[in-house]
Amino acid sequence: MTDHARLRHPGTDNPLAGARVAITGGTSGLGLALVRELLNRWARVAFVARTRQNVERVSSTHADAHGIVGDVSKKEDIHPIAIQILGSLGGVDVLINNASALGPVPLALLADTDCEDFERVLATNVLGPFRLTKALLGALASSAREGRGAVVVNISSDAAINPYPRWGAYGASKAALHHLTRIWNEELSGQGIQFLPIDPGDMDTPMHAAAIPDADRSQLKRPEIAAAEIADAIAVALLHANRPLQTVVEEVAQ
């Protein structure tokens, strides 16, 4: 078997098999592709989205995934979301902060961006991931101590690096998230929690369509491809987590 195939196998060579993964923004675009990809790799998946109808729609076709209704941009929703993630998965090994807000549509110059719109983007793209990660940090650290590995993926963007005109709110928020991720990694990787900022590239998703309605979709990456790449990156990170043999033996015995 190739290394790539081994990472997707249900056996103990596949570090995602049995991993407890939470994904925000899991009912469309990249998030939905991640739900599917991780289920295919034998992970246990909980996903979060704002709209009950959408959560129920995805749950109805992906019965193994636990759907949770909640808005990560709302402070009061964070602990209820965390409780339901931990309740449905019995812990968490991987958190993917994928939910994202684009800001004003059509895309606006920063000088034309309302403060309230900018605040909403920051609440969803920066404060939401910060709060949810913080609420789940104890559970993630517990996974790390037990040798299961602990990984937080924050979905970034090339707009976090490049100053694209009209992408001000989104770009600034992703730059903040990107840096947050790197600092968090510096501070906590010593305790076994790895933080990965991942730029999935320009994808053919509802968000991209909102941003650039006349884009040539054939030139855009399919979210399924990005999801597979992200899953690979998580698998590698979990392999690096130095899982003691003991843990693997106990899991197999269960």
Binding site: H66, I68, V69, I78, H79, P80, I81, A82, I83, Q84, L86, G87, S88, L89, G90, G91, A135, L137, G138, A139, A141, S142, R145, E146, G147, E187, L188, G190, Q191, Q246, T247, E250
Partner: protein
């Protein structure tokens, strides 16, 4: 002592009383990591706190009630229908627990309407306000109902409503505690870094800390209720390694002591990984086989938490500690100041391990036989213990 009435987990001026080798001293609580030695192992309870207070109605009468979930028999996250619970009548935390009106008369089969949740009274647990209930619906529906409707259990010494985040320690993981394992409020991530930098190891257990007060002397006399706990394999290994190298085991909070000593009593002095239910009481007669020191909140004489401290220090030392806490203006309750008590060399209790090993409920046994005989005062206490 003064009640800590603001939900700040780590106030900058928090105090720590240190009792070691017969000496008592006072340090800023932020100094805690400096009290530890390379090779020590610090163990905390990483249970997150459930929003375990549920307001609603007693369907047969339509009367308002507050249900406080108080326990269940396992930590399983996918089977959460059955809980034991204390039921109150109208009102909320602003009324002292002892003064809360009774709920309407409860009977098996009664429906309770608790926001989006529906529950059935299964039986009364030898008391009109202490029930076993069963929620309707799937585990996912019950989790959603608790998460959206439940509030943290709270008492009148804090006048403003607590948010859930007030009650989660920085290391909180699985939501299985009914009240916060509040000794863990001491910990923050910088503190953990400082511990590790000193060569101190850090581990956790998960222990479903139960409620600390029921407002009823008869029920309070039964505290702590049985509490399920889980010891991860990594923690069991760390304890074994630390003991082998003569390092000290430092428990953050009474629940950690209860869990580790319960396991040790069952397994001839060894802490084994796995999930079990702690049923024992710890007091003056208890022999501590695992834990060498405890970091805990300040406790009032007569509470079960105070009784537990008697396993670490003799009555004379505890009485001196009480005087020092009063004299130095320590604050009590879950957001209060702390004590760090290192077990004195002569604290070798004589409780029979067989009582625990057989799973017998020996509550009262060891405390009743304690030399100082404080057991009766537990019934008159107005102040809650905190872990």
């Amino acid at each position: 002592m003064i009640a800590a009435s603001v939900p700040v987990q780590r106030p900058g001026n928090a105090k720590l009383l240190v009792s070691e080798d017969g000496r008592i001293r006072h340090v800023p609580r932020s100094e805690f990591p400096n009290l530890l030695r390379p090779g020590d192992l610090v163990i905390a309870n990483d249970a997150a706190t459930l929003p375990a207070s549920l307001f609603g109605r007693h369907a047969p009468t339509g009367e308002p009630i507050e249900v406080r979930l108080a326990g269940r028999d396992s930590l399983a996250m996918d089977e959460i229908r059955r809980f034991s619970a204390i039921v109150f009548g109208p009102g909320d935390f602003r009324t002292r627990t002892e003064e809360r009106p009774s709920p309407p008369e409860l009977a098996p089969g009664d429906q309770l309407i608790l926001g989006p949740l529906r529950a059935t009274v299964m039986r009364l647990m030898n008391h009109p306000r202490f029930i076993s209930l069963e929620f309707q619906g799937s585990a996912a529906q019950i989790w959603e109902g608790l998460a959206s409707w439940g509030r943290p259990i709270q008492y009148s010494h804090i006048p403003t409503p607590l948010a859930l985040w007030d009650t989660w320690t920085p290391i909180a993981g699985l939501p299985v505690a009914y009240e916060p394992p509040s000794a863990g409020f001491v910990l923050d991530w910088n503190g953990l870094k400082r511990l590790i930098a000193r060569g101190v190891r850090f581990c956790t257990i998960t222990h479903a800390a139960g409620i600390s007060s029921t407002g009823d002397p008869q029920l309070d006399a039964l505290l702590p209720f049985d509490e399920p706990y889980r010891i991860p394999p990594s923690t069991a290994r760390a304890i074994e390694e630390t003991k082998a190298r003569h390092g000290r085991i430092i428990a953050i909070g009474t629940t950690v002591v209860r869990a580790l000593e319960h396991s040790a009593a069952m397994f001839g002095g060894a802490v084994r990984p796995g999930e079990r239910v702690a049923t024992q009481r710890i007091g003056a007669g208890s022999r501590l086989r695992i834990v060498d020191a405890i970091l805990s909140g300040t406790h009032e004489p007569g509470t079960s938490h105070y009784e537990l401290l008697k396993a670490f220090a003799d009555a004379g030392t505890l009485s001196r500690i009480d005087q020092e806490l009063e004299a130095h203006g320590y604050r009590t309750h879950e957001f209060g100041d702390s004590v760090f008590i290192v077990k004195s060399a002569d604290q070798n209790g004589w409780q029979s391990d067989s009582a625990v090993a057989a799973g017998r409920d020996d509550r009262g046994g060891c405390t009743a036989s304690s030399a100082s005989g404080v057991r009766g005062s537990r019934q008159q206490r107005a102040i809650r213990p905190f872990r």
